[in-house]
Amino acid sequence: MTTDLLIQIAYLVASVLFIMGIKMLGKTSSARKGNTLSAVAMFIAVVATLLNSQVLSFTEIFVTILIASAVGWFAAQRVEMTNMPEMVAIFNGFGGASSVLVAASEYWRQAHEASLTMPVVVAVTVVISILIGAVTFTGSLVAFGKLKGLINGRAITFTGQHALNALLFLAVLAFSVLVVLDPNFELWMIAVLAIALLLGVLTVIPIGGADMPVVISLLNSYSGIAACATGFVLNNQVLIITGALVGASGIILTQIMCKAMNRSLVNVLLGGFGQTGGAAASGGGEEIVVKEVGVEESAMLFDSASSVIIVPGYGMAVAQAQHVVRELTDLLEKRGTSVKFAIHPVAGRMPGHMNVLLAEANIPYDKLIEMDHINDEFANTDICLIIGANDVVNPAARTNPGSPIYGMPVLNADKARTVIVCKRGMAAGYAGIENELFGYPNCLMLFGDAKASMTKVVSELKEMATA
């Protein structure tokens, strides 16, 4: 009895620490401490649970924890910052799978204790937990595969896709009801699990690469809701509280991402963006004529500029160009040029992706400016350097009502006196539409790999300094 009370108090303390930790995560100055605090909360919750009188198999538990911790720690230390979205996706999937397994374990225990008929409440919560956990699991795995390039990153669509999903959704609801009506009949439960796993795959497959920030945020939210549902299964408040925190966080991020793309969540989830839009846009426009620029000329332009804004995009991450961009920044600043970074909310493959990459390259975070705060500054800027970004600087979003991205908030990069676009080739951006910015008279294209081009520009600039 006293041990149980102790456990409950420990859970309460952990819950408070989790909330404080999340609060501190919201400020750059205290974020690291906040993360540590929430890790301490997790540790307290784990230790308290080990005191539970039902927990007896310490050997298995400690061995499992030890191995998993080693694997997790190793993976977390090794991962490249550019691969962070994959990492988050796969961990998310593990969280979902773990919710499924806990609920399944509880279900199995109750279903096999012969004397027991499962209470309806337990059956309902188990079903919800398995359903959400399974969708989170396979959905995250598909997201991981897409980000890693194991599966085609573009939207995969086929005829009857929505109908199939709707049908499966209805089927899973029907089976869920059957489980609740007859909880001890395992086949219904297995059907729910199987369809939920399938739904996870089918709902993420039609969503293309640049919509990943939305999907990852949403799956993050699901993993919280799954933990929350497991809390209901086990009658455990700490799971419910923390699950709700994570769920809320994911939902807010999802909303921010959708707003930044001027699309509704439903529109993103139905997927297939890019295929239909591409045709509509290419019909109206004439061929875009671009002006190329070489490294030497680019370096000369930088040499005479007094203000530069850099717009990074996913292409910078792919080329691993963040470090050489830092070098360029340092070089320019040493000559008295002001350098700022303009960050679009959906640049990259997850919310805040660019911020992490630039932080890795030692660029202070107060140089990274949000879209709304920097958009008026482009007009007074000598050079806007765009590295691996495309749709987020397309002026068509402001000017062309026929464009599929019309209305999406974009960076006003075209307003700068000179725009240099560092890009591999003329391939269209994710939305599959031409970027009319590339044809503007003040726009110069610097074709090539971002890292290679920037390295050359930096060395040219250095030579100019010594000459």
């Binding site: 784990v46 694997v71 374990s105």
Partner: protein, 95 residues
């Protein structure tokens, strides 16, 4: 679990959700990735349920499901916190 207990849990859920929305709507975009991976680690709280599920001394299916859950949840928790810490360590203000 009876209906009363369920209501209490629902109270907890609703209030915690409000707290979550309040806290997170203020997070600046710079911190979105760490927030996501940090909250991801927190969602590994199912580790608590996994430990209980893996607790019995027997060798039932139920127990081994719990052990599997424990493995994945621990991976989620440890990996999530370590990677978040690694990221946040890099966030520096101008020297």
């Amino acid at each position: 679990m009876n209906a009363e207990a369920l209501i209490v849990l629902l109270y907890v859920l609703v209030l915690a959700s409000f707290v979550g929305f309040e806290l997170i709507s203020k997070v600046p975009p710079t911190l979105h990735t760490p927030l996501m991976s940090g909250s991801n680690a927190i969602s590994g709280i199912t580790i608590v349920g996994a430990i209980v599920a893996a607790g019995p001394l027997d060798h039932s299916v139920s127990k081994w499901l719990g052990v599997a859950a424990l493995f994945l949840a621990t991976l989620n928790v440890v990996g999530g916190y370590v990677v978040t810490d690694r990221m946040l360590k890099m966030f520096k203000k101008k020297k």
